[in-house]
């Protein structure tokens, strides 16, 4: 039977809601019987949030730092002393040559290299605002971004104490930054919205990805197919219970984020709910699509993982979106997480409203509908 056939023939014919309802009830009972899955649904968000939330601590602490000084002056000593005294940095050594300094940073022995050029102190006294060169290993963008800010403050305070700088503190020097390996950084509050999106992506994908293949593997699909229910009804019946589960997880993550990490909600909570509902449904639809394509549960999990990885890497969760090549940006437009991250960051941190988010909302809805259409078209109504 073609997709068009049952759409015109039976989608809205009598009993559509009754059959979807029967399916939803069944799925809920099964979900509730499956204690392990049920526990996982609550534990995954909490564990990940606490784990990543605290592990990804964005306040710099004890970052290994080397100094390459081309002069040995009071200014040099003041800067080194300041680096020793602050918690942000951990002064490891005074490099003696360019090569040594280069090696230190490349090998990962230090994350920062402060280079004091020859004639720095003299230029400082003349008010020429000489440049300190700072090379940062920005493979950890969050740490390096914040540390660079901290470094400027540390050096300024040190030089003021040594009276190289007047009390007014007008820029006596400048810092020329050189971020290695990864040119951008993100801010602390990005992590909770990011985790909200990634955790939802992962759990939602897996739940529905297993749903159809599980019925096939347990042999219950043969019975189900022999009963009067069509693919749209089966799909909705399998997706809807998890929308509720997703909302529950969202509340859990956001609530914990607000309590543990003081994440603000600048924008509308209603808008956030709507956007999250859409995002959850889009991911459930994608997972369900995998479920209709896969031959068994293992394949379904593998497909979900293949989809999950680019979501993590290209959505802007881990690496800044703007730094990606154009083709990667195009790919990321096809990932629900890209749009959701933009929207959640917008709503939570910037107070963005509906009109700001309209393009992302439209994109998310389109992705959801495409996934559903593929799922319904690909759903095997026979055992052929």
């Amino acid at each position: 039977m073609s997709a068009g056939g049952f759409l015109s023939g039976g989608l809205f014919s009598g009993g559509f809601l009754r059959r979807v309802g029967a399916m939803v009830t069944k799925e809920f009972i099964q979900l509730q019987r499956d204690r392990v899955t049920f526990a996982t649904m609550i534990m995954i968000p909490l564990l990940q949030l606490v784990l990543f939330g605290y592990a990804i601590n964005t306040t710099p602490r004890n970052l290994p730092t080397a100094v390459l000084a081309h002069e040995n002056t009071d200014a040099t000593r003041a800067i080194v002393a300041a680096l020793r005294n602050t918690d942000f940095f951990q002064f490891t050594r005074l490099a003696t040559s360019e090569q040594e300094a280069e090696h230190l940073i490349r090998a990962g022995d230090v994350l920062f290299l402060v280079e004091i050029p020859a004639g720095f102190e003299r230029a400082l006294r003349r008010g020429e605002a000489p440049a300190l060169l700072v090379a940062a290993d920005a493979t950890d963008p969050v740490a390096s971004a914040n540390a660079l800010g901290a470094l400027e403050g540390t050096v300024r305070t040190a030089l003021r104490r040594e009276r190289f700088v007047d009390a007014a503190g007008t820029a006596p020097f400048s810092i020329t930054q050189h971020r290695r390996y990864n040119p951008a950084g993100t801010s602390q509050l990005n992590i909770v919205p990011g985790l909200l999106g990634t955790i939802l992506t992962m759990t939602m994908l897996i739940f529905t990805a297993l749903s159809v293949t599980r019925e096939v593997e347990r042999g219950t699909m043969e019975s189900l197919l022999s009963m009067p229910i069509n693919p749209v009804e089966i799909m909705l019946g399998k997706i809807l219970p998890y929308v509720l589960v997703g909302i529950m997880q969202g509340v859990l993550i956001l609530g914990a984020g607000m309590v543990l990490f003081a994440v603000p909600v600048e924008g509308s909570l209603t808008l956030l709910t709507i956007v999250t509902l859409l995002f959850i449904t889009a991911n459930l639809s994608v997972g369900y699509t995998f479920s209709t394509l896969a031959q068994n549960q293992l394949q379904a999990v593998q497909m979900s993982f293949m989809f999950f990885l680019p979501n993590i890497l290209l959505s802007g969760f881990m690496f800044p979106f703007a730094g990606m090549p154009v083709w990667a940006q195009w790919i990321s437009q096809c990932l629900p997480l890209t749009h959701y991250l933009r929207m959640v960051r917008g709503i939570l941190l910037k107070g963005a409203g509906f009109t700001d988010l309209a393009p992302d909302i439209a994109a998310l809805a389109a992705l959801m509908l495409i996934a559903m259409a593929i799922a319904v078209a690909r759903f095997r109504q026979t055992l052929d």
């Binding site: 023939g9 009830t25 042999g219 055992l383």
Partner: protein
């Protein structure tokens, strides 16, 4: 509504659709292959309403495949047919609403209780008041007190009963039962068959596959399928008569263990031209041949042996099936 607007024919709306009201299943030239393996070949059969139609054949002969084609779960590669008057290729949806299909392997939800499984089925079929219907089904099946038990925890016999209950709950017109009694104890089998006879008496048509010969005798009509070919069909007596087999039984006289002697005799008989089949039945041997004269001639030298009693007999269904199988094997190779 979309379906009304596009003017598709609506059989329920009153257009006569039952020229052969007495026929439940009619298929012609049905064929199904998986890859290059032809599993069902040129199968033609007809099942009248209110009949218990037995579908017999050894494992792997294509019974399940045929049943799946009948309810639209598999698409035939060739042939045509109707089930309850609906085309099996294009009207699977309508067939599903009126057919109860009991799969060979238990296919209800193991993690739902008996009651929840029945309620789920009732809701899908739009049975009014699903809870009450499920409770009634539980009572009818004698499953009282087990309503809350998970289906997966039931024993084989109870599982099979539940599966049958789920099939008949929506009051279908046709039951397709795929080896419903496989692995079930004799007592439960007997009860199962009496239930099936009750249902047929109430007006249901039942197509039941099995590989138990004794169950064939409980059917109004049977069809025998082997290697995808339908080899015989009709009432049991007709199938036996149509086989053209002549059967003679031989028994050893006197006391003592005649086993080894009979086994030797069986080998001896089997080697004779004119004797097509020798099968031991307890202390007797069933000797069958396709030609009565040839059989007589072959047996003549043995009749003179002391201690053996020969008696003319009717072939059993099993004799007939084994003969049909060996003939079809000969034809294919």
């Amino acid at each position: 509504m979309a379906s009304a607007a596009d003017g598709a024919p609506q059989p329920e709306a009153g257009i006569a659709r039952e020229p052969e009201a007495d026929i439940a299943i009619e298929v012609e030239g049905l064929r199904k292959q998986f890859g290059t393996h032809v599993v069902v070949d040129d199968l033609t059969m007809r099942v009248r309403r209110r009949q218990i139609y037995g579908f017999l054949g050894p494992n792997g002969s294509g019974k399940t495949t045929t049943i799946r084609m009948l309810c639209g779960l598999l698409t035939p590669d060739a042939g045509r047919g109707t089930c309850l008057g609906y085309d099996i290729r294009t009207e699977a949806r309508r067939i599903r609403a009126k057919v109860g299909y009991m799969t060979q392997k238990f296919s209800l939800y193991a993690d739902l209780s008996v009651r929840e499984n029945l309620e789920f089925v009732a809701r899908l079929y739009g049975v009014p008041r699903p809870e009450a219907a499920a409770a009634a089904a539980i009572a009818r099946l004698g499953l009282e007190g087990r309503g809350k038990q998970l289906a997966g925890e039931l024993s084989g016999g109870w599982k099979q009963r539940l599966a049958l209950g789920a099939c008949i709950l929506p009051q279908p017109e046709l039951l397709l039962l795929d080896e419903p009694t496989a692995g079930v104890d004799p007592q439960a089998r007997r009860e199962f068959w009496s239930e099936i006879h009750t249902l047929a008496a109430e007006g249901l048509t039942v197509l039941v596959s099995t590989h138990y010969m004794d169950e064939a005798e409980r059917c109004h009509e049977i069809a025998y399928i082997a290697y995808g070919h339908l080899l015989a069909q009709g009432p049991v007596a007709d199938v036996i008569a149509a086989s053209g087999l002549t059967t003679v039984t031989v028994e050893a006289m006197g006391a003592g263990d005649s086993g080894p002697a009979m086994a030797a005799l069986a080998r001896e008989l089997e080697a004779r031209p004119g004797i097509d089949m020798v099968a031991p039945f307890g202390t007797r041997l069933h000797i069958s041949g396709r030609g009565p004269q040839a059989l007589d001639a072959a047996l003549a030298p043995f009749r003179a042996r002391p201690g053996l009693v020969f008696r003319a007999d009717a072939p059993t269904l099993e004799d007939v099936f084994i003969d049909l199988m060996s003939r079809s094997k000969d034809n294919m190779t």
